[in-house]
């Protein structure tokens, strides 16, 4: 199933909802979207809502690595609701230490943090 990306900004929090499969073919789209969302004035947190994401290839992880290093310390990355297979990929390669991995997120709490 193709990747669907839907993004919204809530004050200082940008939420990128992903559903379907994140493979090499669509990684660039996500990368561009991430940069665009993080570029909104006042955005301090980017949440990747992965609850509907069923597969992530290495290209997907690359986008997260890119986002972490490109956006720097000023923007916090949160990965929310990753399904077990996706979460395991992130953990096996050690990227979970660079982001917050949460099951669910609370926009108000993130916005006030």
């Amino acid at each position: 199933m193709a990747l669907e990306i839907s993004s919204t900004v809530h004050g200082s929090v940008a939420v990128i909802e992903l559903s379907g499969e994140l493979d090499a073919g669509v990684a660039q789209r996500l990368r561009d979207e991430t940069v665009a969302m993080a570029g909104h004035d006042g955005v301090r947190t980017v949440v990747f809502d992965m609850s509907e994401l069923t597969f992530m290839a290495s290209a997907g992880l690359r986008v997260l690595v890119f986002a972490k290093q490109k956006l720097g310390q000023g923007v916090e990355l949160v990965i929310a609701g990753a399904q077990p297979a996706v979460a395991e990929t992130i953990e096996l390669t050690g990227f979970h230490h660079s982001v917050d991995m949460v099951e669910t997120y609370d926009l108000d709490a993130l916005g006030n943090a």
Binding site: A24, G25, A27, A57, S58, A59, L61, R62, V65, F66, K68, Q69, E88, T89, L92, T93, G94, F95, S98
Partner: protein
């Protein structure tokens, strides 16, 4: 294309082939390199006439496109081309080389073969361990691109002083493949991360991994004639690609993320104070002899990469079919590029070179006095803080233990240490003198190089495990399917009375003691101790001393042994902790045998059954020595004095003790004559000797005493 990139004229293509946009590439670096606009391909061949780049979609058998290098894209012997707009995630690439097929002249070009890039940093085709390959695929080992975007944070190689190192030799898969390992992804880099607490509790601070460069477990695979079980290239001493970690060792190998997974392991080990040393095999490749597969080197430039006889056949100094031509300048540079890459990109702390004597041979096979490769590595700025360890012999009869060209940098697996300890341990007469030299860091062999030139070991992956060393007189290798012909015959082992498994309590008790004796001597010797993974829990290979082909319990670490043999594990932990607590055991340079700090006794003194009177006679099967605490680190560190008596004779002997330093008494740290838990005493709980002038040491027993103020122990 970014705005910055688009402003540069060199980011525009000049050529086109079947819709692919091209430009002359950069000759350096060799390999495939991501650029802002595409991928730069650079490959070398001194004898090819034409080169074609072959591009695949990941996993596809048929190429997506074949792009001949335009003649103007060759500079010297290097073909270099940038291809624009490639998707690095889904790309696989190889080369076809056209040139003469003339084996008698050393050339074996074959344009029907698709060749792997020797600089490939990710290699597909064996993505999951043990999954039967598609043998119809014309491109078996598939070069891919790697990303260098791993987030190392503040990590870098640890640079632990070599005199403080305790090396633990392990096989990636063996460590966690056993069902008892309790990890989520058995047999992988990720799984080792789950065993870091164990390594820390053991106390080792350097994990030496048997080969992790991409290899093919199916090389020479064959059914076991007795059981039908598949015998494979399990150990991996046969490299397919020197720049790529083995995909089948990564839980994420099927996703092509082995680079990240292995880097994560290195980073995590570093956080826990454990270095990573790689066992690297530069003496030969997986292509075998003229009957072997053409994977890469043979088809790219056979005459450059391999040592060839005048008739064009392969020299076989490695015992495996071919010999890499390491002192050819091209090959030498490849080895250097490779090691720099692993040191810089993977933060590897050290390298152990398999059959390293080969690295000192010239292209005709003759040993060189001043081998350029070894010198280059020794003085390289990137490798300057890496440990370099040689297995200083080869299968062609060159034995350089003690004489390996060291340039002040190289350490050696000290095979003579192993042999001396084994002979002494089993009670051979007249071995005390040599044993003393080995315990002292082999000053007779490494006079100018210091004690740390000696990597001391009693067992390694080659040969018996420690348990089997004291349980078998001879090897039992029938399971290897070679009628027990393979594997070493000179094991210097002793079965303690019964060959193999037994329930005789006396034999078992003696074996337990002998294992402890070996560990105690090893971990109190000057030099760098190396343990074979599993020896601390008496792992057995049932007498098999060459388990290179077994993906089964002959190799897998059985974690239930940490409970069954918890007392031996505790003993080993205690010895490693003792070594860490006592700098007198860890000297960079040789001890002098003289009093250099005015303590009244030499830094090391030798004793016998009478204090100050060592017995080096032809019948001696024991020795004793004292390390003076006032001399620790040349007198700059405070330490306790330590007295050690090794009695390898079957009789009990009384040993007169040298005086402990003023105000101190001898306390018992180790007495292998006692059953657990009285074989070893925790730091601070060492019981004092009633009589500090004399001790009885049982037959085949090691006693280690430490001089402490009377109130320090439980006295």
């Amino acid at each position: 294309m970014s705005a910055v990139a688009s402003g540069r004229i060199d980011y525009y293509p000049t050529h086109e082939h079947e819709g692919f946009k091209l430009r002359a590439g950069s000759v350096y670096p060799f390999g495939a390199t991501l650029t802002p606009t595409g991928v730069n391909f650079s490959v070398f061949s001194s004898h090819a006439e034409r080169c074609t780049l072959v591009l695949f979609d990941k996993g596809a058998q048929a190429p997506r496109v074949e792009i001949p290098f335009p003649p103007e894209f060759r500079i010297g012997n290097v073909y270099a081309m940038t291809v624009f707009d490639l998707d690095a995630e889904t790309l696989e690439y190889g080369y076809r080389m056209e040139g003469p097929y003339a084996p008698e002249e050393g050339h074996r070009f074959d344009a029907t073969k698709i060749l792997m890039d020797p600089y490939a940093r990710v290699i597909g085709g064996r993505d999951e361990w043990g999954r039967t390959p598609d043998w119809d695929d014309p491109y078996q080992h598939r070069a891919r691109l790697a990303f260098d975007d791993f987030d190392w944070e503040h990590d870098r190689p640890l640079e632990i002083p070599i005199e403080d190192l305790v090396v633990y030799e392990a096989h990636v898969r063996s460590l966690t493949r056993h069902p008892s390992s309790g990890v989520r992804n058995p047999g992988t880099f990720a799984a080792i991360r789950e065993k870091i607490p164990y390594l820390k509790s053991l106390g080792v601070n350097c994990l030496e991994l048997m080969p992790v460069y991409e290899f093919d477990e199916f090389e020479h695979s064959r059914p076991n004639p007795e059981t039908g079980e598949l015998l494979v290239n399990y150990w991996g001493y046969s490299t397919v690609g020197f720049f790529a970690p083995k995909a089948g060792y990564a839980a994420t190998g099927r996703l092509g993320m082995q680079v990240d997974e292995f880097k994560k392991l290195v980073k995590e080990l570093h956080v826990n104070g454990i270095e990573v040393m790689l066992d690297v095999v530069f003496n030969h490749t997986a292509e075998g002899n003229e009957r072997g597969p053409t994977i890469s080197f043979r088809g790219l430039d056979n005459k450059t990469y391999y040592m060839l006889t005048p008739e064009g056949y392969y020299f076989n100094f490695s015992g495996t079919g071919n010999t890499l031509n390491c002192n050819n300048p091209i090959v030498r540079n490849m080895v250097l590029d490779c090691l720099r890459y692993w040191a810089a990109e993977y933060h590897i702390d050290g390298f152990r070179f398999d059959l390293a004597a080969i690295l000192g041979r010239d292209p005709s096979g003759a040993p060189l006095n001043n081998p350029p490769l070894l010198e280059t590595l020794a003085y390289d700025p990137v490798l300057a803080k890496c440990k370099l360890v040689a297995e200083a012999w080869d299968a062609g009869g060159l034995y350089q233990v003690g004489s390996f060209p060291a340039y002040g940098r190289w350490a050696e697996w000290n095979g003579r240490y192993r042999d001396a300890l084994r002979k002494f341990l089993k009670g051979d007469a007249g071995r005390a003198g040599e044993m003393a030299n080995r315990i002292a860091g082999s000053p007779d062999m490494y006079g100018d190089r210091g004690a740390t030139a000696s990597i001391n070991f009693v067992t390694a992956h080659d040969g018996f495990t420690l348990h089997d060393l004291v349980s078998y007189d001879g090897k039992h290798n029938l399971a290897n399917g070679e009628d027990n012909r393979d594997g070493a015959n000179d094991n210097e082992s002793w079965n303690c009375g019964v060959e193999g498994a037994t329930d005789d309590p006396e034999v078992l008790r003696l074996r337990r003691r002998q294992m402890r004796n070996a560990l105690a001597i090893l971990l109190t010797s000057q030099g760098v101790p190396m343990l074979l993974s599993g020896d601390e829990v008496a792992r057995t290979q049932h007498g098999n001393n060459n388990t290179y082909c077994h993906d089964n319990e002959l190799n897998w670490f059985d974690w239930t042994l940490t409970e069954t043999n918890a007392d031996l594990l505790r003993f080993t932990q205690g010895l490693i902790a003792f070594r860490a607590q006592h700098p007198v055991l860890r000297n960079r340079w040789h001890l002098s045998g003289r009093d250099l700090v005015g303590s009244g006794v030499p830094d090391i003194s030798w004793h016998g059954r009478r204090a100050w009177e060592p017995d080096w006679g032809p019948d001696a099967r024991y020795l004793a020595f004292m390390l003076d605490g006032a001399h620790a680190r040349g007198g700059r560190a405070q330490d306790d004095s330590i007295y050690l008596a090794f009695n390898a004779h079957w009789e009990t002997y009384g040993f007169e003790l040298p005086q402990p330093p003023h105000g101190r008494r001898w306390h018992v740290f180790v007495n292998t004559g006692m059953e657990a838990p009285h074989d070893i005493h925790p730091h601070g709980d060492e019981p004092p000797l009633d009589d500090s002038s004399h001790i009885l040491v049982g037959g085949r027993t090691v006693v280690i005493l430490v001089a402490k103020a009377a109130a320090e122990g439980n006295g």
